[in-house]
């Protein structure tokens, strides 16, 4: 489903963000990408959604070469990938409801569908009463739930979570991870980038370990073993 073929990314010719990374992710897999800050986790995600282009190598998503997509095709690719960020990245001028609805509007869905699905999803993530609040009126955990709802509303093939719990307390962290596992069990490929040791060790899923831009380990049922 997702293929990275000998991908390298340099910034300014001498800063190496990724060095010859090569891996595949199968449909419905739950894969964690671990590594210290600056190891290249976020770079992998940016390359996968076409926000940046690799210096060398090729990237495929469901047989499509991401690196060769035109802006229009890139927008439709992004609608097949739901992304959850550490800093939530909600639209500050839109309510929680509108933030989620916007993702559906982006794919041109009719209004009736939006009015039906969005409240259902808010019910599922458990913050239906906060639908009409603006992001600034929500707690970190609530914001992250809204972000997850937005990532899910288009029924994506893949959900990418980039340090989704970095700004959350342990209880909210646990809740969010539980939600991600549930999403994966319902049939969505899940990529989780994190440096949270407890999460990785409790998950017992596949782990890709990065260090200074290189892929140093790829284990099924991996553990967080970086020093």
């Amino acid at each position: 489903m997702i293929v990275f073929q000998n991908v390298s990314k340099f910034y300014n010719h001498n800063t190496i963000a990724l060095d010859n990374v090569d891996f595949k992710i199968a449909p419905n897999e739950f894969v964690s990408i671990v590594g210290r800050s600056g190891a290249g986790k976020s770079t992998i995600i940016k390359l996968l959604i076409g926000e940046e282009k690799p210096t060398k190598g090729r990237i495929f998503f469901d047989g499509i070469e991401v690196t060769k997509l035109k802006p229009k095709a890139l927008s439709s690719l992004r609608r097949r990938i739901g992304i959850v960020f550490q800093e939530f990245r909600l639209l500050p001028e839109k309510t929680a409801y509108e933030n989620v609805a916007f993702a559906l509007e982006a794919s041109g869905r009719p209004q009736s569908e939006i009015e039906e699905f969005v409240p259902q999803l808010f019910e599922m993530i458990g913050i239906k009463d906060k639908m009409d609040n603006f992001p600034r009126e929500l707690s970190g955990g609530e914001k992250q739930r809204v972000a997850i709802a937005r990532a899910l509303i288009n029924r994506p093939d893949v959900v990418i979570a980039d340090e989704p719990t970095g700004n959350l307390d342990p209880i909210n962290t646990y809740e969010i991870i539980k939600l991600l596992v549930k999403i994966n069990e319902l049939g969505t490929t899940l990529i989780l980038a994190t440096h949270n040791k407890e999460i990785i060790n409790s998950l017992g899923k596949r782990v890709l370990s990065l260090d200074e831009g290189r892929l140093i380990r790829d284990e099924e049922e991996g553990r967080y073993t970086l020093s």
Binding site: I49, G50, E51, P71, K72, L74, S75, S76, L77, R78, R79, I83, R89, L90, L91, P92, E93, K94, F102, A103, E105, A106, S107, G108, P110, Q111, R150, N154
Partner: protein
């Protein structure tokens, strides 16, 4: 497509209301720019009227010797009329001159008495000449001083009025040129200020634009609301600027009329109301849309 347009308009409205202070500031700047443009347009019309009115007041009068026959004078008139530079030549006969003289001095008994005592008409016949362009007067004066005309002509008023005419010509030229440059500079300033304000408003949304892109929104859905908002700004600013400007102009109108009697600002504005409003709306929408398009282009690159 209709859903897209509906959504674009919805978000344009919401953006306008939720960013109320920023929207108001942008709107205020645009209104100021539009009022400045209106003022300059009106200033242009006023100077144009003033210049025409001044030009109309300049003329050369040729006074003929009392011995010159009417036939000769009319010949000179015809010759003058055949010159390309001349707008009108008006013939004032000796009798007409006397009537005019009496009319202007009818309240002065000593003058009418003196005239009666004189028994004959002491006034000369004259031609009042108006040129198309004030710069032509020296040439006309030179023509009148021609040897062949000297026997008939008593005096040409140009030599007396030379200084005034030359000065007026200079003032007219300066007003025309200076007004144009001033208008251009001020309009450029107004446009640039409005332009950067709108760009700033969009700049503050650059993060939101980035997020929308990551969610997979098409460029049209991202760009649309900003352009619709630009159009809204243009319409609202255009309307308000006209609403502010019209009362202001009719308040100033009587004072302008004192200086330039031909200029009736209020009725001019009333007569040209729709084209005036149209120009304002046009400039407003143009400003809003163009600056929006340019500003957003920078953040839409993928």
């Amino acid at each position: 497509m209709i859903t897209l347009i509906f959504r674009i308009i919805k978000y344009a409205f919401l953006g306008f209301i939720r960013n109320f202070w920023l929207s108001s500031a942008t709107l205020a700047i645009m209104i100021l720019a539009l009022i400045a443009i209106q003022g300059l347009l009106i200033f242009g019309t006023i100077t144009k009227t003033a210049v025409t009115s001044l030009q109309d007041k300049i003329d050369i009068s040729v006074y003929f010797k009392t011995t010159t026959t009417e036939e000769d004078i009319l010949k000179v008139k015809q010759a003058l009329e055949s010159l390309g530079e001349i707008k009108t030549v008006e013939y004032v006969s000796r009798e007409d001159a006397l009537l005019q003289f009496k009319a202007t001095h009818k309240e002065d008994p000593t003058i009418s008495q003196a005239l009666e005592e004189l028994g004959e008409n002491p006034l000369s016949a004259s031609l009042n000449i108006k040129a198309k362009n004030p710069k032509e007067y020296p040439a006309i004066a030179a023509y009148l001083n021609n040897e062949s005309l000297v026997p008939f002509i008593d005096k040409v008023s140009y030599s007396q009025n030379q200084l005034v005419i030359e000065r007026l010509t200079k003032i007219i030229d300066t007003v025309k040129g200076g007004g144009l440059i001033l208008t251009f500079i001020l309009v450029a300033i107004a446009v640039l200020v409005a332009f950067s304000t709108i760009r700033l408003a969009i700049y503050s949304n650059r993060e939101a634009i980035g997020i929308m892109r990551l969610v997979g929104a098409s460029n049209n859905l991202i760009r649309g609301p900003y352009i619709a908002e630009g159009i809204m700004f243009g319409i609202v600013a255009g309307l308000i600027s006209v609403l502010i400007f019209l009362p202001l102009a009719s308040f100033v109108a009587p004072y302008i009329k004192v200086f330039i009697p031909e200029m009736d600002l209020s009725s001019y504005l009333l007569m040209n109301f729709w084209s005036h409003l149209g120009i304002q709306l046009g400039i407003g929408i143009f400003l809003g849309v163009i600056s929006g398009l340019i500003a957003i282009r920078r953040y839409l690159k993928i």
